[in-house]
Symmetry: C2
Subunit: 657 residues, 2 copies
């Protein structure tokens, strides 16, 4: 049975400073309470007293999703993340807030087990009437995740018990049986939560429901011979032409991936947070920052290779939650198929789109993660969003980040293995089948540097196999102490056999690939641009470091050759309290030669006034060479953008020579 | 008062073969009757007997536009084009068909003057209920154009009289007056027709209505304090969420350019056939073929510089009718502002998107004119379309093409001028203010060759000024007989003064620019491609001439340097009858050096099987040089594509070195 990160993350500790640890510290110091304050301020937290009336939130006309329909999930994600953080370090205020909201949720539950804020307080008669759009089952899924996190920390079932009752109710409404509804969540997620509930508690309702939701999805004739969402739309009396703005055409079902049964879907379509098909996504629909979802209109996937950098180029959405979803899928796939291509993408998302989605102050976020800014969409952060899934989602991810670093286990009493997916400074302790204590530690300055030291503490009788991900961007590596025989590489993982670990309980791997490199998008993207990367980190330019820039680096190019200089820099983390000297974020700045292009003036000599353009400009040859100006470009990691004010100008991919 | 092409085209004759004349001949020989047969076959023509019942056409459920709502306009455009052709050469079958449909239309008119097929036969109760989408006023406009063409040829008012009654009825329903509806056509066009009706007949209803429709458009509070289209939607009981597929968001009005009053619109948005703003369109939203409208979803304009070549690149629509609309606007603007930038675009559209929209057989058409084919959208032609505006629109354009070649007139009794916009072989005859006969002829092999000879036949006492458009793509020109003083150039027109024409009644201009040239799209298009052009003609590659191609030339590039060879070729025009030897379309083929790129196989050496791709491929550096194969590329004019079968692969812009 797969060990989920949320289940085992606490077996891994982050004992000393690292980039990952510093992110979790931001949530400890600021994030968890700042988000609680927002949840309170916006009514999301307090409304579980059921005293909430329209007026607390007025935009209930928004169809099909007045924002309160997914408030439950915002609160549930916060509870989940808060419990992960509490497990790492106690905080009285957070503890009290969790206890209070759990009490409110318990008393908010109906006698029949129903537990949903919006459909209890505002539109009770609409219960189960719009699974497609109104997030009712999605909320239930996040309540399940919250309950599991809660019971893990509090070791009681104050939240788990009512949630299991709620799941029982849902099971009584949905399923293959005659007379039950053959529906499924418009926004998948519930399925993962239900299967995890079954994995942890053995709950059978959860298993049957989760499996049914997955297998029934996209059935064209599931409900009285109709597609379930067509049937419920008719039940609501909706015209087929009455469709959400995110649906391109009437009768479309691709938005929520119910256009076909899941096993028949061979391309990844629709809303990018909802479903992910690996190969099509990674090879044709993923940005080099690990972002997915080029299309604003449905917050989702465009056609193959359609990956414009920003709004002025034709679009780019890349919601934070979508890349978190990629990480969750990658982690699960690694259990089924240990291949570094999954872990590489997990790391790509982590150190670029996901890490960049929160500001160093712990109070500011990006929801959309474009690769280039524009006048319309500046490179800025917000303290909260009307739809605020991303901030608490980041908290639960970094709260359980230990669970993503590695797999480990003991296939036999005298054997253990650790498969290392992500490098940082961390230590994991677990027991063998025979009950012996094992601990495994890694120490590194990743992602600034490719040198990682390992230490195994285990009885000498144990056969210990370590597998180290060899990142695809790393051309070579060196392991010390060295050894005569070559290490085998399987699925992109370097296998350190027990014959080696028995001799060397401490060893070091040093990966190449930390020299800055130029990367290009796939030719079919029609993006004739080049970006800089170093290790797993993708870089960008900002106007703060390049104050001469005037138009979002739209006319700025990077020299094909020429040295790229590295400078060690740091940025303060304004966490408000504590010793600021310790609160610095270290990073490596890059400087490279580039140019910026001026456009020819539109005037000619054929009896027109200046500015009277001739059609020639519309399709004439570029005269770049004539009007380029050399500049020195200063780059910083994409994950550190929008932390220092500035004029909101940023770009990852620059023009190529 | 501006002379419209439809009014004066007959003063210009095309006495001997030219590319333009051959296109009109195709309509004489095949087009006009082939389209009549389609109109009959599909019920469009016959249904004016009012015997039509559902069953003739079954897809009336399509909302908001069951195709029959614009059938009237298809028939009206055919009548208009047929009358233009009759004026050039009599044809008994066409004559009889026009007389018959006019009789049917007369008897189809209601006692109150109402004349619309769909809202008479199918949904009489819905009259005037959906101006936004249902083309009721648009149809009326095309009936007006048909009536003007009919009365011009037949010199009677058998059609004009009922249409003027219909206009009177419409005026009684719409206008600024209290109690009248403050609406306007969802699809503009009616306005042009009404103002032309006024120009020809002085009809006051037409003037007031045309002007009102223009000035009222986009008024946010025109009808009972609401936008007219919001008001009528409420009257229909439509939910604001019930919107046509072509409307991106509820409450959008940009699709039909009613989002603002016209004078306040500073960018060109929405459906590209409906409205055109010159500078923004030409400089930022026009393809190098003269096509406009990148977005399939609303058949219209995208954001600035968003000009992908085809479906696989992110979209490209370029409806034929949209470029015909550009030509009509350009012709009108030339009356207000004699500047070659308008005529250059008029010619660009004519010789590329517009001319390419009909096959050499006169029976096959393109509706969408992409610059690159794909598996989804092959480079093919259809014999007819469900929405079939384009074929008859081409007929009326080429039927009246003489009216687009030049302006001419006699500002004073002893002065005449001719402003030559388009070069071909043609002759125009007109009278001076003093009643003297003037004729002016041009003779050329345009667009194959830049040499044009002119002949003036006019009393020697007349002061004759000739202005010749100097195409923007032409670097230089030579006029013979030469003369000591330089010719002045005003607004891109070379002025041949009366001092010259009085000495030389015959002279020749020879324009450079007929050597093949490489053209590039604007850098902001993100299209790193290059295309070939020669004179006004843009070229493309097809698999017929390049049989080795396998994937729509997606991986094919053009060498930056290297000779481009010209070959004189011809293609048969299968017009079915007559002497085929005379029915050949001559053109110049180009051959140039290029390359085609192979992609690296997805396999690596890290313990994976072949085909197991590493993430690196998704954003790795291109290795073009490693896997390019030299090829010789064969190009033909874009306007001749899809005439010879083949596998439907075509591309204009190829990869750049």
């Amino acid at each position: 049975m797969a060990q989920h990160p949320q289940t085992i993350f606490h077996e891994t500790t982050l004992p000393s400073p690292s980039l990952l640890q510093s992110r979790r510290e931001i949530f400890h110091a600021v994030g968890v309470k700042a988000q609680l304050a927002q949840l309170r301020k916006t009514g999301r937290y307090t409304c579980f007293d059921l005293k909430w009336q329209p007026g607390v939130y007025d935009d209930l006309s928004r169809w099909p999703c007045p924002p309160p329909v997914y408030w439950d999930s915002d609160v549930a994600k916060w509870i989940e993340g808060a419990c992960y953080l509490l497990l790492d370090r106690y905080d009285a205020e957070v503890d009290a807030a969790v206890r209070a909201i759990v009490d409110m949720m318990r008393s908010a539950q109906g006698d029949d087990g129903y537990l949903n804020l919006y459909f209890t307080v505002i539109e009770p008669e609409k219960r189960w009437s719009n699974l497609r759009d109104q997030h009712e089952l999605y909320n239930a899924g996040h309540l399940v995740e919250a309950a599991l996190a809660h019971s893990k920390y509090y070791k009681n079932d104050l939240l788990l018990e009512p949630i299991i009752r709620y799941v029982k109710l849902i099971r009584s409404v949905f399923g293959p049986e005659e007379g039950r509804r053959h529906g499924y969540p418009g926004h998948p997620e519930t399925e993962l939560a239900l299967l995890r509930l079954h994995a942890v508690t053995g709950n059978q309702d959860a298993y049957e429901l989760g499996r049914y939701f997955i297998e029934e999805r996209g059935n064209p004739t599931g409900q009285h011979g109709q597609h379930y969402y067509d049937w419920e739309a008719e039940e609501r009396g909706d015209s087929p032409w009455k469709r959400p703005n995110s649906y391109v055409h009437a009768y479309d079902h691709f938005y929520n991936q119910s256009h076909k049964p899941i096993l028949e879907q061979d391309t990844v379509e629709g809303h990018a947070v909802r479903a992910i098909l690996w190969d099509n996504m990674v090879d044709r629909k993923m940005y080099l920052t690990g972002g997915i979802g080029a299309m604003l209109n449905w917050e989702g996937f465009g056609i193959d290779y359609f990956l414009p950098q920003g709004t002025d180029d034709g679009g780019c959405y890349n919601e934070t939650c979508a890349s978190i979803g990629v990480m969750m899928l990658a982690e699960r796939l690694l259990h089924l198929d240990l291949d570094s291509r999954y872990a590489d993408v997990m790391e790509l998302c982590l150190y670029n789109t996901v890490m960049g989605a929160m500001g160093l102050d712990g109070r500011s976020f990006t929801y959309v993660n474009q690769l280039a800014s524009s006048e319309k969409d500046n490179d800025r952060r917000e303290s909260w969003f009307e739809t605020s899934c991303c901030p608490p989602n980041l908290m639960r991810l970094f709260g359980s980040i230990g669970g993503y670093l590695w797999d480990y286990g003991s296939p036999a009493a005298d054997e253990v293995f650790v498969n290392v997916h992500l490098y940082t400074t961390a230590e994991v302790s677990f027991e063998t089948g025979g009950g012996a204590k094992v601990s495994f530690a890694q120490l590194s300055d990743w992602p600034q540097d490719g040198k990682v030291s390992f230490q195994i503490k285990a009885p000498s009788t144990l056969k210990t196999t370590i597998r180290l991900r060899w990142p695809s961007w790393s051309p070579d590596y060196k392991i010390t102490p060295s050894t005569a025989e070559e290490f085998e590489c399987v699925g992109g993982y370097i296998v350190i056999p027990s014959s080696y670990t028995s001799k060397h309980s401490e060893f070091t791997v040093d990966f190449d690939g930390f020299a800055p490199r130029q990367v290009y998008p796939h030719p079919y993207t029609n993006q004739h641009v080049v970006a800089l990367a170093r290790g797993p980190v993708v870089y960008c330019v900002e106007d703060t470091d390049n104050p001469w820039e005037k138009d979002h680096f739209r006319d700025t190019g990077l020299a094909r050759h020429g040295e790229i200089q590295e400078r060690s820099r740091s940025m303060p983390m304004p966490l408000g309290s504590g010793d600021q000297a310790e609160k610095q974020c270290h990073y490596i700045e890059l400087q490279a030669k580039g140019w910026t292009r001026k456009h020819e003036k539109g005037s000619d000599t054929r009896g027109r006034g200046r500015g009277q353009k001739s059609i020639r400009q519309a399709y004439a040859a570029e005269k770049e060479a004539d009007n380029e100006e050399a500049v020195t470009l200063v780059f910083l990691p994409y994950y550190l953008r929008a932390n220092r004010g500035g004029r909101g100008m940023m770009r990852v991919g620059l023009l190529r020579e």
